[in-house]
């Protein structure tokens, strides 16, 4: 898809109250364009509840229903049931942070996924709670500084996209703010599928990750190029790598050094050699695990990974 073919209408007001260089607004703008505005957004407590702006104004020009932190997916199920009853084909989209997805929102998410409710659940993952001022979440990577892990997080993240694969839902994909066209196309494909769909977008957050605010897109690319974030898409159980991750998996492209990614962020600046080694091991395991799930490419893919 060419950029010139993308929807021109804007659904997110430029000049809203997000931080400069905010990955969430960029991603939301892209998602709403892909949906051409035919969506109801359900938003639990997160950065977006703030940057949409205070009543009586709003920076988002589709219907938005704010809900409690734990209940995004369930609220969306209720809205969808009502719209189905009314015979309306509006996409009901959850727009949640990683806290509202990985942690407090996980139960409602899993429930709605298991029921197969016709919802598009999107997690913009900035790998911490930024609304409350940068605390660790279940999505925070090993070693990252946050205000509840001052010396670096001691645990690796859990992986909700994998968990969603295990739910057997018809669509699971990852995307990155570094590749907005890829994101746009994934939303378009997800829109065509019925049932519960899960999309997770890596959202490098300048104040939370401690990098300059003009580097958001670059950071989103570097995360993928270094293998730390893996782009994939699973449609009806058929998993494939996409974009740069695909080139890496097929051995057409060398991964960038992980250190380049880690050390360009203040949250990792204190890491020791051993800690970096621990992250490397985690990343390799992740690739191997995913590669095993990718049909056809298994051997070639596993063989070519090195970080």
């Amino acid at each position: 898809m060419k950029i010139s073919e993308m929807e021109r209408e804007e659904y997110v007001l430029p000049g809203n109250t997000s931080c400069h260089g905010c990955p969430s607004t960029v991603a939301l703008r892209t998602v709403l364009k892909a949906l051409e505005g035919n969506a109801v957004l359900v938003i639990p407590a997160c950065c977006t509840s703030v940057y949409m702006g205070p009543f009586p104004n709003s920076a988002i020009n589709v219907p938005v229903f704010n809900t409690a932190f734990a209940s995004a997916a369930a609220t969306a199920s209720g809205i969808k049931a009502s719209l189905e009853w009314q015979g309306k084909d509006t996409e009901v989209v959850v727009w949640a942070g990683d806290g509202g997805t990985y942690d407090i929102g996980l139960q409602a998410l899993s429930g709605a996924a298991e029921r197969g409710d016709d919802i598009l659940f999107i997690c913009y993952n900035n790998e911490m709670y930024s609304n409350t001022g940068i605390q660790r979440s279940g999505a925070t990577p090993y070693g990252a500084w946050t205000t509840t892990t001052w010396k670096g997080k001691r645990e690796h993240k859990k992986d909700v996209s994998e968990l969603m694969l295990a739910h057997g839902i018809p669509y699971v994909a990852t995307a990155s703010v570094g590749y907005l066209r890829d994101l746009y196309e994934k939303v378009k494909r997800a829109r065509k599928i019925r049932g519960f769909r899960y999309l997770e977008i890596l959202a490098p957050c300048p104040p939370g990750w401690r990098f300059p605010m003009d580097k958001t897109i670059q950071m989103g690319k570097l995360a993928v190029e270094s293998g730390m974030w893996i782009l994939f898409e699973s449609i009806e159980g058929k998993l494939r790598f996409t974009g740069v991750s695909k080139s890496i998996a097929e051995g057409r492209r060398k991964m960038k050094d992980l250190e380049e990614y880690l050390l360009s962020q203040g949250r990792f600046s204190h890491l020791t050699e051993e800690e970096i080694g621990e992250i490397r091991r985690y990343v390799i395991k992740k690739w191997e695990k995913l590669a095993r799930l990718v049909e056809g490419e298994i051997d070639a893919a596993v063989a070519k990974f090195y970080v």
Partner: protein
């Protein structure tokens, strides 16, 4: 057109939701309300109830889904009890501030630990500050009627508040009684929301609300409760004219004309209290009863008028530890400046202890506040 069926309180609630044309139901099982969930599931699967039934994974989600459904323009229903209601707490507040007129059946049950599945109004009474309208029923017909009346009230644009219809666990939830299954077509039409989520008319609901606007919202909710009280009388009349049943929404009086000693209570034990009043009168005690139906809004004025110059015995089937009976406390403050002779607290029926007419009699003849055994 109507039929009379022998139904438990739970089945009654399910039929009431069906005939009230609830279109989205989201619910989660918990004793003693589970049969409501099962019955609705069956009615929907058999195609008798025209609704979407969302089989959620928790009560928090049940309420969230109801809020979503209501916000999108559908009449929503759920049912819960005890721990389930406690688990919903956050979303109960949400439903009120979001102005989603959901109706919920609550089979009142104690909260653990010390797992106790029996009747105790403490679960609902501890939600009194969530802004929900609260009705307490004393028989199954009343459960049936009140659910329809609650929708009528809740959805009125002067009210727009959620409402819970409470009934004692097991005592009513599992006791079969004849219920007239009136169809409510003349009384309740399809839900016509004042606002709803609609992609063609986008607006943002529930974003950051500055202090002045928030105060306005909260004040409006209080005013809506005041208006609800006025509307209740109208709805009682309309219901009576249509169906010939005097189903109270605010309160019920029994032998109050010349009463000197008045029992005030709520819920199922309000039925037993009538038997107690008759028995007391045989013993030449001029007893009377005020059975409160609406705990929120609290009908302060009505109660004051009725209880002036009386000796009032308040029977609470709940306890607010560190304070006392919730109904007693509310009433005491409502009557603070009234010439009441005395107002005396009684705590009965906690954790499902059976409350008999003798319980009332003993409580009135003895000074003890707590009755912790079955008085047979």
């Amino acid at each position: 057109m109507y039929e009379v069926k022998i139904l438990t309180g739970n089945e009654t609630a399910a039929y009431a939701a069906m005939n009230s044309k609830a279109r989205v139901v989201a619910a989660y099982p918990i004793t003693p309300v589970t049969p409501v969930v099962e019955t609705i599931s069956k009615l929907v699967e058999e195609g008798r109830m025209h609704a979407k039934f969302i089989r959620v994974e928790s009560e928090h989600s049940a309420m969230a889904a109801c809020i979503g459904a209501s916000a999108a323009g559908s009449r929503a229903f759920t049912a819960t009890s005890s721990h389930g209601l406690a688990y919903m707490h956050e979303m109960l507040h949400w439903a009120t501030n979001a102005r989603t007129p959901i109706v919920m059946a609550v089979a009142n049950r104690a909260i653990g630990p010390g797992w106790n599945i029996w009747a105790d109004l403490g679960d609902a009474l501890s939600q009194r500050d969530t802004g929900w309208i609260q009705f307490y029923c004393s028989n199954n017909q009343e459960i049936y009627d009140t659910i329809a009346m609650a929708y009528k009230l809740a959805e009125d644009r002067k009210v727009l508040l959620p409402a819970m219809v409470c009934y004692d666990g097991f005592v009513l939830s599992h006791t079969s009684m004849p219920v007239e299954l009136t169809e409510f077509d003349d009384f309740l039409s399809e839900y016509e929301p004042v606002w709803k989520l609609d992609a063609e008319n986008p607006f943002t609901h529930g974003n950051i609300l500055p202090p002045e606007d928030f105060a306005e919202l909260r004040h409006n909710i209080q005013k809506s409760h005041d208006r609800a009280l006025k509307l209740m009388k109208k709805i009682e009349e309309e219901f009576f004219e249509l169906y010939g049943r005097r189903t109270p929404l605010i309160l019920e009086e029994y032998k109050m004309e010349d009463a000197e000693k008045v029992i005030v209570t709520m819920g199922a034990i309000g039925s037993e209290a009538k038997v107690a009043v008759d028995s007391l009168r045989e013993k030449k005690v001029k007893a009377g009863l005020v059975r409160l139906k609406s705990f929120r809004p609290f009908p302060e004025k009505e109660l004051r008028n009725l209880l002036e110059d009386k000796k009032v015995y308040v029977f609470d089937r709940a306890i607010s530890p560190g304070s006392g009976g919730p109904l007693y406390n509310e009433l005491k403050s409502a009557l603070a400046f009234s010439p009441v002779k005395r107002i005396i607290p009684k705590i009965v029926g906690i954790g499902g202890i059976d409350v008999t007419k003798r319980t009332f009699e003993r409580a009135i003849f003895e000074r003890k506040v707590w009755i912790k055994e079955v008085v047979s």
